[in-house]
């Protein structure tokens, strides 16, 4: 009487077990296992060589009208209040004058009488930045998805990116809490903590240089930050100047999973603009799930995906050039998913991949 049910149950359990055992690991037990393993790659990057099919890229057409290249630093991005003249330049060394006033995301001033010694940094990109300018010792708390650089593993985790142990943060008694999204701002401020949110770089990668500089000022390491920011700007400018003679490059579609794709006003959108790749989802607001019909119709010459197999095996996409050529580019999420100092390496990887003749 209950035999068929037992049969079904055992059948499905076996199938589940076999499915799970087919995987390369068990169910993630701890957040550390699930987060991507950090691959510390020293600057300058060694690019891996990948054989590109000879045909897919059309030779870029030389620009007829000289295009004016705007300065990589947008002057309006400057968020430091200069009425107290916090930065003084003397013989190329920069000094920061405290008290220092910083404008946060809502343009509200936040004053530091001295560099904060104990910072809870709730943002992977900011952790990377602060370590990159040699001020990592100031960080006393992060969230559990932060895994780079290696030293950051030892720092106490006070929650994952979307859940915050506010009691624990208060117990750590930080001078400053840095957040990348405003959800817990009020609660933390009510607990008497100083909370900082900086202007988001989610729509333009060039804003990163300014973020680096602000961190340099807050942590009183302006020269290191200036080096980092200049290096970033030089790398951006180099890409710009190499591509300056060309009108436009190939068309691109980035699949971040299940055909979700970034539009023009996103960080990746600004990367595509920099690389003169024509984003076929330029008319998508922020991120959206692009209709497969539209992908076929707009026929991208380059496909970037975090999971190329899902596209290779979709029978609808067999006619797309990158599928035919077996050349879907697997994006480096270690670099391109964190808007910190390593982000530009991911951008350079894309440049090398898609313009193999121009970059080396």
């Amino acid at each position: 009487m209950i035999r068929p049910v037992f049969l079904l149950l055992t059948l499905s359990l076996t199938l589940i077990l076999s499915t799970v055992s087919c995987t390369n690991g068990a169910v993630p037990e701890s957040p550390k296992l699930a987060s991507p393993a950090p691959t510390p790659i020293p600057i300058p990057t060694k690019f891996y060589s990948q054989t590109m099919p000879a045909t897919p890229l059309p030779a870029p057409t030389p620009l007829v009208n000289t295009e004016e290249i705007t300065s990589p630093i947008n002057e309006n991005v400057g968020k430091v209040v200069h009425d107290t003249l916090p930065v003084e330049k003397s013989s190329e060394k920069i000094f920061v004058k405290f008290p220092l006033t910083i404008l946060d995301r809502e343009e509200k001033p936040l004053t530091f009488t001295e560099p904060p010694e104990r910072i809870v940094v709730y943002d992977a990109a900011a952790v990377e930045t602060i370590f990159a300018i040699g001020q990592g010792h100031r960080i006393i708390g992060t969230h559990s998805w932060v895994s780079y650089p290696e030293e950051s593993e030892k720092i106490e985790k006070v929650g994952d990116a979307f859940n915050m142990d506010i009691e624990r943060i208060v117990a750590l008694d930080p001078d400053l809490v840095f957040l990348f999204y405003p959800t817990f701002k009020q609660e933390l401020e009510k607990a008497g903590l100083k909370v900082l949110l900086l202007e988001s770089v989610d729509d333009d990668l060039r804003k990163m240089a300014n973020t680096f500089r602000i961190w340099g000022q807050i942590t009183n390491a302006p020269n290191e930050a200036e080096l980092l920011a200049k290096d970033f700007e030089n790398r951006v400018m180099q890409i710009e100047s190499i591509l300056a003679p060309y009108d436009s490059g190939p068309s691109v579609f980035q699949d971040v999973g299940d055909l979700w794709t970034p539009g023009d006003n996103t960080l990746m959108g600004s990367v595509f603009n920099l690389l003169k790749l024509q984003n076929i989802s330029h008319d998508v607001a922020n991120y959206g799930q692009l209709s497969p019909e539209v992908i076929i119709d707009r026929n991208p010459q380059i496909l970037i995906s975090s999971n190329p197999d899902s596209i290779y095996q979709n029978s609808a996409f067999q006619e797309l050039l990158p599928v035919k050529n077996n050349s879907i580019f697997k994006s480096n999420d270690d670099y391109l998913s964190i808007s910190g100092p390593r982000f530009i390496l991911g951008v350079e990887e894309l440049a090398l991949e898609f313009y193999p003749g121009l970059f080396k």
């Binding site: 499905s12 690991g25 979700w260 799930q289 692009l290 539209v294 067999q318």
Partner: protein, 356 residues
């Protein structure tokens, strides 16, 4: 109970053929419209040419661009067919559950299929298995197994507590569902930040539709439909007290078992390819009941047709309203379905005759 109405209840083959044929015709028209319209404009004549050229009826006359060919034949058409099949599965199994539990709130996900399927999908998703291995895809398989396992567990619990008390089954299903949802939540919170693909799967939709999905659904659906339609008279008698059904010579326990297994199989396989699409399985049977009465020989087939038509139209809206971006189809089904449902409820209340 008079002799006549007994005969009426158990007489074979009194299906409402005119309704069914009309319904299939309407569903066919909607299918044609859904294939003709999409986020990329393709002239209707070309659509027809493409489909007939595949069917080898006519020799292809004009030259049609191969991208149009791909769009119609590999994206739009399989998608519409999958929506039809999933809609029919959800409609029929929703009607079955409502009849079985004598509960107007029952839907195909009632006894844990949805939560089990979500848990299965989440496990596959977060363990980072490649979703597909050759032509074989893990995501649907895992969600299918998860859904089935949850229901089997609920069923075993209800057996342990005596004969299959439907209320026990219901409560066990809800408990297991809540447990599975909790595990899913734990897994999702303790994992990699980018959950967008998983969330969009959970919301449901047909963006991944391929011909192979429809081919895999059809056998389960056929078996499910044959069994459920075969038991539609029994479902009628089960609306009475069990005592009466047994006195009519119905093996109620066996009927329950067959109906639960068939409906669950149909739901699980539909969920595994389309994700969790709400509202279709709940509303379709009610619409049919409000319009055409309470005989399960009418409700079951017409719920299938209504569910299929509704889902095809909802998917058409999902992929065209904010083109080139897609909306989750569940948003459309709830947005369009609920006002229509409320309208029917109010109308039925005014007539106040058929149990609402």
């Amino acid at each position: 109970m008079s002799d006549n109405s007994t005969r009426e209840l158990v007489s074979i083959y009194k299906y409402p053929w005119t309704h069914i044929i009309t319904g299939i015709f309407i569903a066919f028209i909607c299918t044609v419209v859904a294939v003709a319209i999409g986020s990329v404009y393709i002239p209707v004549t070309s659509v027809i040419t493409i489909i007939f050229s595949k069917l080898d009826v006519f020799q292809q006359q004009e030259q049609i661009s191969s991208s149009w060919h791909t769009i119609i034949w590999n994206i739009r058409f399989p998608r519409v067919v999958l929506a039809l099949l999933v809609g029919a599965s959800l409609g029929i199994s929703g009607a079955t559950y409502q009849g079985l539990f004598k509960n107007p709130l029952a839907d195909p996900y009632l006894i844990g299929v949805a939560s089990g399927a979500s848990l299965g999908a989440t496990i596959v998703f977060l363990t980072g298995v490649p979703f597909t291995y050759g032509y074989f895809s893990f995501l649907p398989l895992a969600s299918f197994c998860g859904g089935l396992a949850a229901v089997c567990l609920a069923y075993l619990i209800s057996i342990k507590s005596g004969d299959t008390q439907l209320s026990t089954l219901l409560l066990a299903g809800i408990a297991i569902g809540a447990f599975a949802t909790a595990i899913t939540g734990i897994l999702m919170l303790s994992s990699d930040p980018d959950l967008r693909p998983l969330l969009s799967w959970l919301m449901g939709g047909f963006i991944r539709a391929q011909w192979s999905h429809s081919i895999l659904i059809i056998p389960y659906m056929t078996i499910g439909i044959i069994f459920i339609l075969g038991y539609s008279r029994v479902l009628n008698t089960m609306q009475l007290e069990e005592y009466y059904s047994e006195s009519l010579g119905v093996d109620v326990e066996k009927a329950k078992r067959v109906l639960i297994i068939s409906a669950t199989l149909m739901t699980a396989v539909a969920v595994s390819f389309s994700g969790l699409i709400g509202f279709v399985g709940l509303v379709a049977p009610h619409v049919v009941r409000l319009l055409w009465g309470t005989d399960y020989r009418t409700i079951l087939p017409l719920s299938g047709i209504a569910g299929a038509t509704f889902l095809v139209i909802a998917d058409l809206a999902a992929r065209t309203v904010v083109s080139p971006v897609e909306l989750p189809v569940g948003i459309i089904t709830a947005l369009v379905g609920s006002p229509f449902f409320v309208y029917l409820l109010l109308k039925a209340k005014r007539r106040a005759g058929n149990g609402y």
